[in-house]
Symmetry: C2
Subunit: 424 residues, 2 copies
């Protein structure tokens, strides 16, 4: 086993350029929602070369769409499949799911990018592009770990089930589809961008859309109307207070270093169509965080009650009530005990590679981990090389060194978790 | 003259259905910006039937576009002409411009309309539809007044110059083009929707666009970004304070009954493209009122100074300054002395028809009157039958009774102003 570990580490150190090149190719494939096929094709070819047993399918169907955790406004998944690729063990070992999502968020304001958002260019040890950090770098770390095991002819006892799923950024339908297809395991690692921290707990979240009504009028007699933008200010301020109240209740020491453990993000606001008219409607969209031990419905109820309170106390809202819609993305919260063997094994591997204990925290954002643990009976931990701060931002990038170290840590964790079949 | 007046009043009372029908046809022609030709065609046919001398032309050209008062982002005026139609006097009388704009603002949220926004349907003495009040009803009052003079074979001494212009809602390029084409007179009446009040002074206004920068981030770690919507709150609150400060300075008794004499209207706000991302840009658009005796540039400077103050004191704005653009519409302010003969003649006619003095105030919104008076050397007064409160609103409508009375008042004013050539 010790020999095997050393051989794997040596292989990974010798094949870093191979990993960087794979990430570059992946980033160059724009895989925003509805365009995932190109990047999936790159991974399918890679898994084929590794000799893995593949399952490639377009998600959908009644079972998925009627599931309580299904949350998706996409009308078609045609041509953009999920991928599962299995490295079969010899038996009797614990199995492990390695899950990464292939979809990336939109690029935002292109002018804020120094290079093309899908350039994949490398500079000073960083690889740039939308998805580099969230989370194609994590996915490459998984595949490099698997390749190191295959290349060194290490025989695992337990199965390793690699998953490249769509739809994580929009609510997790891809991972849910994999769960419903029967994929489960004794544990799962999801290499979302954690800054190399270990997150046994994951914050859930969901999207909301609040409609604020006003009354149109000529801007020159604006006092004859009611400005939906001005009325929105009160709504936003109430949401800010709700966020404050909810976060003051969080006492979990895992969140000690997180300024806002369960944020309420105002992500979009659109109102008005003419500068000199009083706008009669404003639409506010955002994302509400859910604590690991909280339920999605409890958090939703709390926000709904806030709006009901505004509707009750503001004379305008009494007659023109705010309405809220829970649309688009919804991510289940997840919670794993810090003493769970998956956490301790991963931490031990981390210490072996980095020489120190990892930071163990609760994730400040939702992941597919909640679906795996709550509906797939698969305990999940989040750990990855990407940089939290640049996920979804312009000039997104990853430190390649972290990706290489993550692949070593994950490879050792696979060995310890799945077990190695010694040669007889 | 007394006989003539009575014949005209009698003719107008007997032809109310004719006026209502003309307004209905006009409202049914959607004349939002770029679509004015259909409604203009209705008026051209009407003026042809009245035997007026017409001038129909597509505005444009270097002189117009280089004029200091030109303010327009429209790229083409092709196919949507201005119309001037003249009832020539016998000479030696004072001339009068009767100016109405044919363009209407967009319909807004169609769901807020009980009927089709361009239905022109009549119910309980009200005619409904976008433009009914602002200001096709006023235009019909002008034409009915002229028709009553023609039908009664009244010979005027001075010229009556009817103008149906485009672009009033977007900055007055239509009226400016008429001024540059040489049309001026000893006075002008613009029947904008004043609730039958007389406005010798007109508030100017112009549009602004403020760009607010933020910093994108994942919504779950929103503290790593800067939310452009939240930063916009401070900007909107500062504009609210600016509005308050500016209006506290207004001591003109004309504005005594106006809650906000020179409003700053926040008309549009757009920010963000993804609910779970922190938005990195917000665009705020609106309209700033300018006092009758103020200049546009002085008002602009005051708002620019406010933003500069925010840029100086807010640490984020210090490095990411707010920027402002004065785009689209700009309407010159105008000011006529209350004792000007045009105001006293109009007031006398009002008293003759309505039996009481009109309310004389300053207009709470900009009109083309500023262009006529400041650049066309034509003193202008604003008086019309439309309802201020429903201009630009859903279910816009006009009281037909007011339109009929306005046509009588305007007809008498024409007689008194232009003078009647008695038969020899």
């Amino acid at each position: 086993m010790i020999n095997q570990k050393e051989r794997i580490k040596t292989w990974l150190k010798g094949n870093r350029a191979r990993g960087a090149r794979l990430l570059q190719i992946l980033v160059r494939e724009n895989s925003t929602r509805g365009n995932e096929s190109g990047a999936q094709a790159v991974l399918i070819e890679k898994c084929r070369q590794l000799g893995l047993t593949m399952d490639i399918w377009e998600i959908g169907g009644e079972e998925l769409k009627k599931h309580e955790a299904y949350c998706c406004d996409r009308t078609s998944f045609d041509g953009n499949p999920n991928l599962v690729a299995i490295l079969k063990g010899t038996g009797s070992g614990k199995s492990l799911i390695l899950n990464g999502h292939i979809d990336v968020v939109p690029v935002g304001d292109e002018k804020s990018w120094k290079e093309d958002p899908f350039s994949g260019h490398i500079e000073c040890g960083k690889l740039y592009g939308r998805g580099a950090t969230d989370m194609k770098g994590g996915t490459v770390a998984l595949l490099m770990a698997m390749e190191s095991i295959i290349a060194t002819e290490t025989k695992l006892k337990g199965d390793v089930i690699f998953q490249s799923v769509i739809e994580e950024e929009s609510g997790g339908a891809g991972t849910l589809a994999a769960v419903l297809r029967g994929y489960k395991a004794d544990g799962a690692i999801i290499p979302e961008p954690t800054n190399m921290k270990v997150f046994p707990k994951q914050q859930g979240s969901m999207w909301f859309r609040i409609s604020v009504k006003g009354k149109a009028a000529h801007g020159g007699t604006r006092y004859e109307g009611v400005n939906a933008i001005e009325k929105s200010l009160a709504v936003i301020q109430r949401l800010q207070k709700l966020e404050k109240d909810r976060n003051e209740r969080i006492t979990d020491p895992f969140y000690d270093n997180i300024p806002i453990p369960i944020p309420i993000n105002i992500g979009k606001m659109n109102s008005g169509e003419w500068p000199s008219s009083v706008p009669d409607t404003a639409i506010i969209e955002g994302r509400m965080g859910v604590a690991p031990e909280e339920t999605i419905s409890a958090a939703q109820l709390e926000m709904e009650n806030c709006l009901a309170e505004l509707n009750q106390h503001d004379p305008w809202f009494q007659d023109h009530p705010l309405s809220i819609e829970w649309f688009g993305g919804r991510w289940q919260p997840g919670s794993l005990n810090e003493e769970h063997p998956l956490v301790t094994e991963l931490s031990a591997s981390y210490k072996e590679i980095k020489g120190q204990h990892p930071v163990i925290e609760a994730s400040p954002w939702g992941t597919d981990g909640g679906i795996l643990s709550n509906f797939g009976h698969t305990p999940a931990v989040i750990f990855g090389p990407g940089i939290t701060e640049v996920a979804h931002d312009a000039n997104e990038h990853i430190h390649l060194e972290d990706m290489f170290l993550a692949s070593e840590i994950i490879a050792l964790t696979i060995l310890n978790w799945c077990g190695v079949q010694e040669e007889i």
